[in-house]
């Protein structure tokens, strides 16, 4: 039996290893679902004579789990959100590069250069940024929508017609903004209040759904939907008469970033790819596709008119956007408990 096991391992290992050898001229990307146009990948492959393969994930946390479970070393670049860049750097999953290694490094817009989650941009470059707020069906509700009360203390006609994102970080951050308390607060009274707020608000919510955030607005199943800016723009383009809110209490901003992974099998090509994405024309191609905003200067001439002028990509000057913060362990546990409590 033992012998047999040994042989079978050997046999399996043989078949397995054949695919590990990474030849020159390859690039392996770990990316979000549907976040880069195929044309752009083809263009890169052609320009640099590199064979591009892409694997996809559906959340920052799922990516982290897969990398920690053993996928490190098989990808060159990944595209984590802001707080996740910080987490990955803290976990030692990121490689660093010198600005000089990217000739287009200077294309990064100054405000995205020295960011809190990667000061000085040592391991990451901006990919796209956008905001998280909510959209309201204007056929169903004519009142003022620029307040987070729409989500957490809605007028009677919207109660029971609300879809919220099924992600802990964004929902609880939005709730904190509504209450005006700091993120990652460990103050007991504040957390008890937060817990109560979401419990009470839940009675007004019809569903939790991230994948369905756009569809429920287009179909009219939900009259209010917590949603990402680009998704809202797409829902609007598909015919939903919705307006994206910029609540006076504040809203969430986020930025996705291309990071250089540690143990990247093709570090050279990874840097070429990052440099490629810093070309205004290429960054604009992603923006036109995803309908968010690039963190690269000079993309304007390449942008579609509709995308450039969309209300979702042009926040008014008043309300403030906040990045979701990565809480320390002892505090995160409390937020996990509130979340479990909410969905128990």
């Amino acid at each position: 039996m033992k012998q047999l096991l040994k042989y079978s391992v050997a046999a399996i290992a043989l078949t397995g290893f054949s695919s590990t050898a990474q030849a020159e001229g390859k690039l392996s990307i770990y990316h979000w679902f549907e976040y880069i146009p195929q044309e752009l990948l083809d263009k890169f492959a052609k320009e640099y004579d590199v064979e591009v393969t892409m694997d996809t994930y559906d959340s920052n946390e799922a990516m982290l789990a897969a990398l920690k479970a053993g996928k490190m070393g098989s990808y060159d670049v990944a595209v984590p959100g802001d707080y996740m860049v910080e987490i990955m750097a803290g976990e030692g999953l990121l490689d660093t590069f010198e600005p000089g290694e990217l000739s287009n490094f200077s294309n990064i817009q100054p405000q995205w250069l020295d960011v809190s989650f990667d000061p000085g941009r040592k391991s990451s470059i901006p990919y796209q940024w956008g905001s998280t707020s909510f959209s309201v069906n204007r056929d169903k509700f004519k009142g003022d929508i620029n307040t987070t009360s729409i989500l957490f203390d809605p007028p009677a006609e919207l109660s029971g017609k609300i879809n919220v994102l099924d992600t802990q970080g964004e929902l609880l951050t939005m709730a904190s903004i509504h209450m005006g308390i700091p993120q990652c607060s460990s103050d007991r009274e504040q957390l008890k209040g937060l817990n109560k707020l979401v419990q009470d608000a839940k009675t007004h919510w019809a569903s939790f759904g991230s994948d369905t955030a756009k569809d429920v607005l287009v179909s009219g199943d939900a009259h209010v939907g917590m949603i990402w800016s680009g998704f809202s723009a797409k829902a609007r383009n598909e015919g939903a008469n919705i307006e994206y809110a910029y609540p006076k209490e504040g809203y969430i901003v986020w930025m996705d970033n291309v990071v250089l992974l540690k143990d990247a099998p093709n570090r050279e090509n990874a840097l070429k790819f990052m440099n490629f994405l810093l070309e205004p024309e290429n960054a604009a191609a992603v923006t036109n596709y995803a309908q968010y905003t690039a963190g690269v200067a000079g993309t304007e001439p390449f942008l579609d008119e509709a995308v450039k002028n969309s209300p979702e990509s042009n926040p008014p000057s008043g309300p403030v956007g906040h990045f979701v913060q990565a809480c320390p362990q002892d505090v995160q546990v409390l937020y996990d408990a509130i979340w479990t409590n909410l969905k128990k």
Partner: protein, 272 residues
């Protein structure tokens, strides 16, 4: 004579079967209709169009989807076949040898893939594969699929076996058949409906798997579910509906073929 047919039929069973088919096929009608939708949304109708079929065959993603469909089908056929063979052999051992050592343990083991939550299998397999240096790719997907297909093949086969007394094989052996002959000529044909059911279940469960596949697949290899799940993030687009409709056509083709084959078999029997 008429009494027998009478006892076979129960009032309402036909209606329930038809209701069953209605529930199963109604959503597919939506899939088919919306594959011809001109708009990019699946919730709004924008007029008739064949553009999504064009997209499936000639669009930029066409090679990706073609490869994914091919991977899915080959993996499903191979995984279901392997799982069925393993399950048949296990079922014979379990049902024909009462004093098999560790029968309870074997029973638990065979059903284990069913009992472990999918995400746990996914994470554990990925950790395990990388620990033993088994590079993720086509082979890992296939292995993982074989494992979770086994109980789906085993349970119908074992259920069938239970109603087959071993007197048939005993009789064959009395007539000097070797055990292999007794199995092949007597037991196997009797097991066939169970085997067919088991294979079909294993096949559809493999074809549908997303979670485990998504974890154990390597970079750059896709199956249909992993390729399709991406589109969901942007709301399912009609091209996915078109692909699904095409898959349905393929499967309907199989059914028609099997029907024709059985008819031809029938006719030949009649002639001879």
């Amino acid at each position: 004579m008429s009494k027998i047919t009478d006892m076979r039929r129960f009032p309402g069973f036909l209606q329930l079967t038809l209701l069953c088919l209605l529930v199963l096929y109604a959503p597919l009608m939506v899939v088919m209709v919306y594959s011809f939708n001109d708009s990019t949304s699946i919730t709004l109708w924008g007029g008739f169009s064949l553009r999504w079929y064009e997209d499936v065959f000639f669009g930029l993603d066409a090679p990706k989807f073609k490869q994914a469909a091919l991977n899915s089908l080959t993996i499903a056929v191979m995984a279901a076949t392997c799982a069925t063979i393993i399950a048949v052999s296990a079922a014979v051992a379990m049902m024909r040898a009462r004093h098999l050592k560790g029968r309870t343990a074997s029973f638990a083991l065979i059903n284990l893939p069913l009992m472990v939550p999918e995400i746990v299998t996914a994470v554990a397999s990925l950790i395990f594969f990388s620990a033993i240096g088994f590079a993720t790719g086509y082979a890992t997907i296939l292995v993982a699929h074989i494992v979770f297909c086994i109980p789906f093949a085993y349970l119908p086969i074992a259920a069938r076996m239970q109603s087959i007394e071993d007197t048939y094989e005993q009789a064959a052996m009395d007539l000097y058949a070797t055990p292999a002959q007794a199995f092949r000529l007597v037991l196997l044909p009797l097991m066939m409906p169970g085997i067919f059911s088991g294979f079909l279940l294993a096949f559809i469960i493999s074809l549908d798997d997303f979670l485990i596949t998504n974890f154990v697949k390597g970079a750059g290899i896709e199956t249909l579910p992993t390729a399709i799940f991406g589109s969901v993030k942007q709301g399912i687009k009609p091209n996915i509906m078109a692909i699904s409709t095409l898959l349905l056509l393929v499967s309907v083709g199989f059914v028609t073929l099997s029907y024709l084959a059985s008819r031809m078999g029938q006719n030949r029997e009649k002639k001879s």
